[in-house]
Amino acid sequence: MRLRSLIVSFAVFPALLVAACASAPQAAPSATPAAAAATPSPTATAVKSSGKELILATTTSTQDSGLLDVLVPLYEKQTGDKVKVIAVGSGAALDLGRKGNADVLLVHSPAAEEAYMKEGAGINRTRVMYNDFVIVGPAADPAKIKGTKDAAAAMKAIAAAKAPFYGRGDNSGTQAAELALWKGAGLDVPKGQAWYHETGQGMGPTLTVAVEKDGYTLSDRATWLSNADKTKQPVLVEGDKALFNVYHVIPVNPAKFPSVNKTGAEQFRAFMVSKDALAVISTFGKEKYGQALFYPYTE
């Protein structure tokens, strides 16, 4: 087959492809190119809308608890902005911010956040809410940590008993808290030891693995409340100051990344500490779980 024939078969169809792609990007900023998806059109309160989409990079704990399913639509209704919630671990969210691939972050990894702010990648870091971490494990409690008030002592006991422990291992805020607990107990991170495991996944799947394998794990209370089988995986240790879990909202620095939606990001930051948002946060989960999953904690 000659070169001419080769060119014929290569010319016609890619031309069609290019034509198809040329029409597609116009559909991109809004919903799907196919008529199939039922996307609600944002109410155009044009006065406040920043006009662009807002990429919110947040943690799996805020996503999985369902809090954002209430807060984000409220924000979208008030401002007419379209928010894209990308739920990854705190570490991955900070990384998205570090490269300017997100507009605003909602994370819970204070040490990593402070390093992030030092790099100049964020502005106006604002405290929003808190809840706590809890150490959960099998009802049989082989390491005998139930009721311990000191989290570090509990971790020491788990290590001494070589009881199975399932860590996140995914650079998340929860993993950062877990590593801080090992450090507080004066221990090296037990990585590589036979009883210590890292799931590399979010809190929900990690709780699932831990309960299947009769292991201990560190969880944020919100995910535990909404995911875990309370009888099979009870809270064994709670209340220690070291288990405090605080969330901050951080707009990405527009001076460093001109392409970020800076009005939208600042608007979202202000919204997160507004009366409306705090009202939602303080009542979220009360009806379903008997207690709020998060507590407002503004400065």
């Binding site: 016609v12 169809f13 900023p29 799907t32 196919a34 199939a36 998806a37 739920a87 979010g202 799947p205």
Partner: protein, 232 residues
Amino acid sequence: MGLLLEALQEAWRLLVTGDGDVYSITLRTGAITGISTALSALVGLPVGLALALARFPGQRWLVALANAGTGMPPVVAGLFVSILLWRSGPFGALHLIYTPTAMVLAQFLIAMPVIAAVTAGAVMALPPSLHLQIRAMGAGTVEYLWLVAREARLPLLVALMAGFGSVISEVGASMMVGGNLSGETRVLTTAAVLEVSRGRMGTAMALGIILLTLVLAIAFALTIVQQRSQRR
């Protein structure tokens, strides 16, 4: 067993009540995968034909590359497209990240090599005398290509099914470039993963059952077309 039964009940309930955006998620899944498979076929079929029929130096290497492409890990395709479409990437200004278009692009990278490789294999398996016959009848180039494709239409349908199958079930790339946004880029696979991470195994399994039903329906339809052409 209880979980499976619960899943079947939940699947039925979801379909009957249309709860949890199941309808829009299913339609979106079909639309995105349909478009990406169509585009992959538009490019993959002629590429496969060219790989099988053309004679040029390095042809064997290209065929090997196409075959290797069938093993393209979806996560790698997703990462590659993300790097291109992120704001920090070369095409960031297009604002395509976390849109269905980005998902179509990533799925194209996965399905196109599959269709090209299977097509090339199918055409290469045709009896050599066929090519002489067609040429002897005085066919021009385009007519020649069309007749060859027609002769190989049964395995070409398999190529289509293989391409479709490779993307309808993938979740890594869709998650990365789509972001699993409710109402925009959430498809059956990414929705199922979200339900798993929320501990709702029954719902996750139900979504899986709906996905399997969708795949079965399409495979059934394509097979009927395939068998009908065979009986002629």
